[in-house]
């Protein structure tokens, strides 16, 4: 108990610090398109980078982007090298023990996708259909369990082969992440993968240190406003090719 309170600087308030410094430091991914990657001009770009800009603008401070990997993003926050993590971070009980989360700002799920001409809305509808999936991926393990036995699951070596199989019509549907579906949509193919149903949902949240209620409220207010005024929706359309889902958890 003593240790815990000693580790958390009781008097510091991160929102005050940020406002005083006039700059907010945000951890963003650099190797995870379309959330964060390097553009042709070597500048960071992506869903998370645009969201970071949105937050900084909403707070009226300058933005300092700190590139992180998925392995070091939590330590960066905990050692206060950054004020926020906007790095396609999913919420889970283990992480909740060490950091806090704002409301969700981006959809992240794996599901079954296919052209509008194929009517599928639940696993049972997969009967008699061919579904392409990357062998051994989360979607493979999940769809193998939930699909009826008459569903023809075709397993391919990697994401690109799975995508090729879908685009060439060798499979009718594709089970993959919404990010991969977005990457296919971005190429503007003749067969458009639209969402049929979700296999596993794990939306992205902004991470911040525990016991920072003022910062949490402020960021949540900006997210809520951005959802209302359509600026987050614009980011979703730009990077994922799809409108922002209305059911993102607050």
């Amino acid at each position: 108990m003593l240790l815990a309170s000693a580790a958390a600087p009781a008097f510091a308030d991160e929102l005050d610090d940020v406002m005083k410094a006039g700059v907010i430091r945000i951890a963003v991914p650099q190797d995870f398109a379309p959330f964060g990657s390097s553009g042709p001009d070597m500048q960071p770009q992506g869903y998370d980078i645009d969201t970071a800009r949105l937050i900084a603008k909403g707070m009226g401070v300058k933005l300092e982007l700190v590139p992180v990997t998925s392995a070091n993003r939590l330590p960066y926050l905990q050692t206060r090298k950054v004020d926020l993590i906007i790095s396609s971070l999913g919420k889970n009980p283990d992480r909740l023990k060490v950091i806090d989360f704002t409301s969700a700002y981006a959809p992240f799920y794996s599901g079954v996708f296919g052209p509008p001409s194929i009517a599928v809305s639940k696993p049972e509808d997969l009967a008699g259909k061919t579904i392409g999936v990357t062998r051994g991926a989360l979607e493979d393990l999940a769809i193998t369990k939930i699909a009826p036995s008459t569903a023809d699951i075709r397993r391919f070596e990697d994401n690109n082969t799975t995508i090729s199989a879908f685009l060439s019509g060798q499979v009718q549907l594709i089970a993959t992440g919404n990010v991969v579906a977005a990457a296919i949509l971005a190429k503007n193919p003749p067969v458009k993968p639209e969402k049929k149903f979700i296999i596993q949902d794990s939306p992205c949240f902004i991470g911040l240190n525990k016991d920072e209620p003022k910062l949490l409220d402020r960021v949540n207010a900006i997210i809520a406003m951005s959802k209302k005024n359509g600026s987050l929706d614009a980011i979703s359309r730009k990077w994922l090719g799809l409108p922002l889902p209305s059911d993102l958890p607050a």
Binding site: G132, R135, G136, D140, L141, R154, R155, F156, E157, T161, S164, A165, S168, G169, Q170
Partner: protein, 220 residues
């Protein structure tokens, strides 16, 4: 460095292994039959110097023998549907394997045909045989006998090469291995068993074709 082998973790998937092994053998057998027919027909066209057709066969042989098998397979599987010709993974594998073996067989059989002396053919003509009879009895059978060991080797290479069909989701032996490996992560054991099965198949094929040859090419 200690590794605990757990072959049971792989063997509990034995129905998959059996299905995969059967598909590998079926694919190989059908492709051998069709590919050999292509090879003999092509070799006849080439050695008889049939105008135009001879050039077409030559181009086909060069194209197939100078491109990787996996590319030929992807071309058939991903390319043909774009042209409106949709075929399943197994059909695509079979077509690619037949085309591949056919090209190599053309060259192997042609070498056999060219090993037949001019005098043999003249002897056939002197006996009043038709051109077709001469090709069948005087040229083809002795030619095949001369190159039979090379053909068997090519058949075995074809069988081993069929493992590539796993890349287009044809559920043959390698696919079964990859699938099991993605479920239990026992890659060492999986590929140990898969290797053993391929090895047994290769030896068995050489044996079986050796026996077939002894009867087919018995001196009469």
């Amino acid at each position: 460095m200690r590794y605990h082998f757990d072959f049971l973790a792989v063997l509990e998937y034995w129905p998959l292994l059996v299905r995969g092994a059967v598909l590998t053998l079926v694919l190989t057998f059908i492709a051998i039959v069709l590919g050999t027919v292509v090879g003999v027909a092509g070799a006849y066209i080439r050695s008889a110097r049939v105008p135009i057709l001879s050039a077409v066969v030559a181009a086909y042989v060069e194209l197939i023998r100078n491109t990787p098998f996996i590319i030929q397979l992807f071309f058939v599987f991903f390319g043909l549907p774009s042209l409106g010709l949709k075929i399943s993974a197994v059909e695509a594998a079979l077509l690619a394997m037949t085309l591949n073996l056919g090209a190599y067989a053309v060259e192997i059989v042609r070498a056999g045909i060219e090993s037949i002396g001019r005098g043999q053919i003249e002897a056939g003509e002197a006996l009043g045989m038709t051109r077709f009879q001469i090709f069948l009895h005087v040229v083809l059978l002795p030619a095949l006998r001369n190159v039979y060991p090379s053909l068997i080797s090519q058949f075995v290479i074809l069988m081993l090469g069929s493992s590539v069909a796993s890349q287009i989701s044809a559920e043959e032996l390698t696919f079964a291995g990859n699938f099991i490996q993605s479920r239990n992560f026992r890659s060492f054991e999986v590929y140990f068993i898969i290797s053993a099965i391929y090895l047994i198949f290769a030896f068995a094929m050489r044996r079986a074709f050796g026996v077939v040859g002894r009867f087919a090419f018995a001196r009469r």
